[in-house]
């Protein structure tokens, strides 16, 4: 078993027994469900809208070279510098280089899962830069020195009391139980940073090929400020973020907000097309757009699972997943958790090390049903299981299946096996669950079905 699998099992074992955690997650997700259902019902036809989004993303991903080229030429025409980065380390070094050249000290950052993916903050802090997360949830988990719990709700696993204690310890604020006051503490702390910072780093939700723009979705206004005040702006995004046309946002913005957080559209949806243009009063004088591959092209090369690149990172599949709801976000040990994380992580970080995630699923299909761009998530988990076994078959399993095939194809042997099983049955029942039980790891949480007293063939013969 891989290290990652071992850690997953241990963490899952601990957290599923934690009733406090369970209560928190269920309360948060219940609120999400109510809001999402209300907004879904405002659509004239939710399922047709999803189909349309899936088709649009299909078009984008299956003509990715054309659209990326169009995006780049349009956005460069307005003075933006585009950097193409095949790997995480290359993207990290590119951004470190930009910040060093700018002789910057303080960096303010708005939420970007791609930055988590390439461990940007650690690299920048090691270089001696101060990096401040500005999204409230990200700010909280950064103070706790832990990764985000959820791709949309990073601090979902914390109570207001824990956050109050954290702020008291790290920021010296007075304890409070009011979410509003806690938010204002963070607001005051971060306001200074926006003004001090030399560089603002953002992620992106969509890249519009037609007009050469990046679209950023948020609620707090932190991305707006991050891209308004610092003199240099850096935007890091995966190459799969592309959408063909500006008007496509008329579909994708409501879809993302409804599925992601139960809103019609989020508070701020902002298009950036360049650095400060002549005649404008503010904005960065330099803008760097960093396009990240980091093995996305390997996922692209698998036509069966290519649609996993349609993902708009709304988090809907996490929210409905019975596994995520029990084991929580940190147990996965991955940047992207939940069903979509389990599908793409083996592609991005290695099949054998991460194949256990495909088994962290009940295959109920709730994720596929929830996905606003109709990614066939639960079938992809099955395909990953198949691929993992195909790549590195276990000899014991192969032997067992071959023996099974031989037995069921040989009636005499099969009948003999049935007789033996019937004789052994009382002994097996006695041993079940004890250390002597040969299939203990199975029977610890499940019952083995009893062996029938007579086979169907015998039953039929006796009744004729």
């Amino acid at each position: 078993m891989s290290n990652a699998a071992q850690q997953f099992l241990e963490a899952a074992g601990t957290i599923t027994r934690n009733l406090r955690h369970r209560g928190l997650i269920q309360t948060a997700l219940r609120k999400y469900e109510v809001a999402r259902d209300r907004k879904k019902s405002a659509f004239n036809d939710w399922s047709a809208a999803r189909q349309s989004a899936a088709e649009t993303k299909w078009d984008a991903i299956n003509h990715l070279d054309t659209y990326l080229t169009e995006f780049t030429s349009k956005i460069e025409a307005r003075g933006t510098k585009v950097h193409w980065c095949p790997t995480g380390p290359e993207a990290r070094d590119t951004i470190r280089g930009i910040i060093k050249d700018a002789k910057a000290k303080c960096v303010v950052k708005s939420k970007a899962m791609t930055a988590e993916e390439i461990h940007l903050n650690e690299a920048l802090e090691k270089d001696g830069f101060e990096v401040v997360e500005s999204d409230l949830g990200e700010f909280i988990v950064q103070l706790r020195k832990e990764p985000p719990y959820h791709i949309v709700f990073p601090a979902m696993h914390l109570t207001r009391d824990e956050i109050s204690d954290l702020f008291e310890r790290e920021l010296g604020s007075a304890p409070t139980r009011e979410p509003e006051e806690l938010t204002m503490i963070a607001r005051r702390a971060l306001r200074k940073k926006y003004i001090q910072a030399d560089v603002g780093i953002t992620g992106a939700n969509f890249a519009i090929a037609e007009t050469g723009m990046v679209s950023i979705t948020e609620n707090e206004g932190n991305a707006r400020l991050t891209s308004a005040l610092p003199r240099i702006m850096v935007t890091l995004l995966g190459i799969e973020k592309i959408l063909p046309k500006l008007e496509d946002l008329a579909l994708f913005l409501p879809l993302l907000a409804t599925a992601g957080s139960g809103q019609t559209v989020t508070g701020y949806n902002t298009l950036y097309g360049g650095p400060r243009q002549p005649g404008e009063s503010d904005g960065p004088i330099e803008w760097h757009v960093v396009l990240l591959d980091n093995r996305r092209t390997e996922l692209l090369a698998d036509p069966e699972q290519r649609d996993a690149l349609h993902c708009i990172r709304c988090g809907a599949c996490l929210n409905v997943c019975p596994i995520f709801r029990n084991v929580g976000g940190h147990t996965y040990g991955t940047t992207y958790s939940g069903p979509v994380g389990s599908v793409i992580t083996p592609h991005l970080r290695g099949v054998q090390e991460w194949k256990h995630l495909s088994n962290a699923s009940s295959l109920c299909g709730a994720c596929t049903e929830a996905c606003p761009v109709k990614i066939d998530l639960h079938h992809h988990l099955l395909q990953n299981r198949r691929n993992a076994v195909g790549d590195s078959p276990s000899w014991i399993e192969r032997l067992a299946w071959r023996a099974h095939a031989f037995a069921v194809n040989t009636p005499a042997l099969y009948q003999f096996g049935q007789e033996v099983a019937r004789i052994v049955e009382p002994l097996r029942l006695r041993l079940q669950g004890t250390p002597l039980d040969p299939v203990k790891s199975w029977t610890r949480t499940r019952d083995l079905p009893p062996v029938a007293p007579e086979s169907f063939k015998e039953w039929w013969r006796n009744r004729r």
Binding site: A28, Y32, K39, F43, N44, D45, A48, A49, S52, A53, A54, E55, T56, N62, L64, W84, P86, L136, G137, I140, A155, I163, P179, I195, M213, N219, E220, G221, N222, R224, L225, S227, A228, E247, D248, A250, L251, L253, Q263, T264, Y268, T270, L271, R276, Q277, G279, E280, S281, D282, G283, T297, L300, A301, P303, E304, V373, K374, D376, L382, Q383
Partner: protein, 237 residues
């Protein structure tokens, strides 16, 4: 070969094998050898078709107004539709007195110039550049907008004609002045209008603002004024 060429080459190599179209799930999805059959056909631009499936925005100006008002109420946007510009200025003075605005921030345009003159308070104009600390201490940012969207209760500001990037997010109160004919039905209409307005010469930022700044990051409890304005007022005549 540089990085761009390398990535593009990898993409082209990957795309040599085509992927099943969406909607063909479960039709041969299990075996690698079985070619999945596409079961849908593109019907022109999907988004043009999709429009009728999205939340409706209304079809008459009166419906647009009703919807925008309803969306504003839900978003906690203070939406005031008044009879005339003079009445809008009167309302503005009322809010200014109630909140005790000491410093106002705005930008030059016919609508905002008239309003700031009517307010007659110390005003920072962002046109041509400003010091961020000066803007940060202003009590309100007063701007125009490109369009308003009935479907979502949103409005659109941009970095060229709405006073820059920060004016609408840095002060604690954002006031938007708008004319009734700027209110459109849905996002598709809005993006079309934006393209008409700016398509030949894009500003560096265009922002769809929907309600005051908000967060639910602490126990999913709604708090207004996370980083941007705590209040959003739309004055329309």
């Amino acid at each position: 070969m540089n990085a761009q060429e390398r990535i593009l080459a990898r993409i082209r190599e990957a795309l040599k094998v085509s992927a099943p179209k969406p909607g063909s799930h479960g039709h041969g999805g299990h075996g690698r050898d079985v070619a999945p059959a596409p079961v849908f056909a593109f019907q022109g631009r999907p988004v043009q078709v999709a429009r009728s499936w999205l939340p409706p925005g209304g079809s008459t100006p009166q419906e647009h107004l009703t919807r925008f008002a309803a969306a504003s109420a839900e978003l906690k946007t203070d939406f005031r539709c008044v009879e005339s510009e003079a009445e809008a200025h009167a309302q503005l003075r009322q809010i200014a007195d109630a909140e005790g605005w000491a410093r106002v921030a705005s930008h030059h345009s016919p609508l905002t110039d008239a309003a700031t003159t009517a307010l007659a308070r110390p005003t920072l104009f962002t046109d041509g550049g400003y010091v961020p600390d000066d803007l940060e201490v202003c009590d309100v940012g007063i701007t125009t907008c490109d369009v308003l969207v009935a479907q979502t209760g949103s409005l659109v500001v941009n970095s060229r004609t709405s006073g820059g990037r920060a004016l609408s997010v840095l002060p604690p109160h954002h006031v938007v002045l708008a004319r009734k004919d700027q209110l459109l039905g849905d996002l598709t209409d809005a993006f079309q209008r934006i393209e008409q307005l700016h398509g030949t010469h894009w500003p560096s930022m265009i922002s769809l603002v929907t309600g005051p700044s908000r967060t639910g990051d602490i126990e999913r409890i709604l708090v207004l004024g996370a980083h941007g304005p705590k209040k959003l007022t739309v004055l329309m005549w």
